[in-house]
Point group: none
Chain length 346, copies 2
């Protein structure tokens, strides 16, 4: 019986795990593709040395077609080595599904993927990273999706990882300055106050290799930097815990006062408005409380009740209900204003 | 000159990379901690065999204190081996920062972390996963945070990974049935229509080891399952691309018709409430329009105006302002109800 094992090669030339080496040793055939990674002359050499096996280097069309791999895996043990984690690119996921449908046993040896390594080595808390986005060459002129993801992430205080596209076959990609330029241009277009020239960002290059590059600073400064070889990532931190401030300042050699909170300036609509309206409603209640007849008591009581609801909804992050409640409380009082029953000076 | 290298051990007993083995070989001292992972008898043995070095197994207080490690790393080459990726737990991040501040050279050899392996092997697209949440024993009774993260992720169509806490020292943790029970209870409490009994979820156990467990189905069915040894994760998929439907059905051996889209039924709070309140306000206006004296005309005009505002705010995605406006419109009318000026049957 055959088998198809996807082996992740992790980052750099020696990122493969012991388990991965063992699978290659036991295989009848070892296919290797590295078209999605910056070509490391040493990767092929290291894999062949450590496994004692010769690799058949294959290209993208070969893996996408997949017929030869599947045919062989029906009868014999086949390993396909893939940089990073082997199940992140859709090509390999599809090949796995085709193998399962063809009744071939499959297994996965995971590898370190760039998104996880960058997030963990940045000094920021890993689980505060929200959705990762990729900056492609086509997206750079507008960055609509990237800008809105950043907005959403910053609102909830989350960190954002931006992977910059690179293409080793073409030797082209998105440089950190080009991506930053695009981000600042997106702010000019959309004007939601998500990014400023002073917004703190981290540029992390070649993470997981022997020569990683770390840079941090305001966007306008990073836009002028030189970052060497790909791959590059940009991290836009959200709300910062004090241990994150300390870590970023130590790792990126910067003064901790310069490690600023990018989420601070980005606020939820309700966070700004509800406290303001609650204060206004309190003042209005004070103005009319002693001047109205007993028939208006239920109005005042309800206005007070809903005003308090608004405060607790806001505290629980129930923004929409907070707004509904404070709107209702104001409406109760203002109705008397419009019909001349009371004079409220909001 | 000394050095401190954090080496990730990845998942399972043979998850360490070649680079990690090399660092251990070159070190003067090899510390190993595995208090956060299910104890694998074979992990220590494999590491010692592959590196030819003896490990000093250390416990949590030793690493948290860190004084001995830092003192040694000033003069000699020290490796600290950590399960998964070495920079995810705050303890190791803090030790790294203390080393940098003490002028000690540090480096990181990344390892595969469970969150990345589960996301990539689920058959779902990796970059559609949004914020990961951890289900701890303390959080299970209410799951407030988890429920709201699920809501937010499903609204945007993202997938959610829930890591279930386990504690190897205590031998306790959160089982998949207990977590699912908690999720369904949270729905009963918060009633936002985020989860139903039929909501599709994946339970993935021991991912990255030789004996992974995969189960998928509706929550009510998964709640009755048995899942063997920890660690366990639950994935709640969001909006599904057809290739994801195919992959999940192949990997989890289920009919593709049963791979349902959990995002489809989840709506924004304002989307549900505003149209309902607008309809009610219209009916209320119809009831009182011809029965009130001219002094109440401004009240009615304003109620109508704000009701229309609510509709256009909603259409523009300005949910908070839509709720504020419709609340205000209702308050204007209800004020007359409370004081006996009008009788509105909402």
């Amino acid at each position: 019986m055959g088998k198809l094992t996807f082996v992740g090669l992790g980052l750099g030339a020696e990122g493969i795990s012991l388990q991965g080496i063992k699978e290659i040793k036991e295989a009848d055939r070892f296919y290797l593709e590295y078209y999605t990674t910056p070509h490391e002359a040493s990767l092929l050499r290291e894999l062949e040395r450590a496994s004692g096996r010769e690799a058949t280097v294959v290209d993208r069309p070969f893996v996408e077609d997949g017929k030869k791999i599947l045919a062989e895996a029906k009868e014999s043990i086949v390993v396909l080595g893939v940089p990073g984690d082997p199940m992140i690119a859709t090509t390999h996921g599809e090949l796995r599904v085709r193998a399962i449908r063809a009744g071939i046993e499959t297994s996965i040896v995971h590898g370190v993927t760039i998104a996880s390594a960058v997030a963990s080595s940045s000094g920021l808390h890993y689980y505060k990273f929200s959705k990762t986005v990729t900056v492609t060459r086509e997206s750079v002129p507008r960055l609509t999706q990237v800008y809105h993801t950043l907005h959403k992430n910053l609102l909830e205080g989350s960190h954002t990882l931006l992977l910059l596209e690179y293409d080793t076959e073409q030797g082209e990609g998105v440089s950190p300055p080009a991506a930053i330029e695009g981000l600042l241009r997106a702010e000019e277009n959309f004007r939601r106050g998500v990014l400023k020239g002073e917004t703190l960002a981290l540029v992390m290059s070649r993470v997981g290799t022997r020569y990683p590059g770390y840079a941090a600073g305001p966007l306008t400064e990073l836009r002028r930097g030189e970052y060497g070889r790909a791959p590059h990532c940009i991290v836009v931190p959200g709300k910062l815990h004090f241990t994150e401030v300390e870590a970023v300042s130590a790792i990126f050699s910067m003064d901790s006062a310069a490690v600023s909170d990018n989420s601070a300036g980005v606020t939820r609509t309700a966070q700004t408005l509800v406290p303001k309206y609650v204060a206004k409603t309190k003042r209005a209640l004070d103005q009319v409380r002693d001047k109205l007849g007993p028939e208006y008591k239920p109005v005042l009581e309800n206005a007070e009740l809903y005003m308090k609801d608004a405060e607790s909804f806001l505290a629980n992050g129930e923004d929409e209900l907070a707004m509904l409640s404070i709107g209702y409380a104001e409406g109760l009082l203002d109705s008397m204003n419009f019909s001349g029953i009371a004079q409220i000076d909001w």
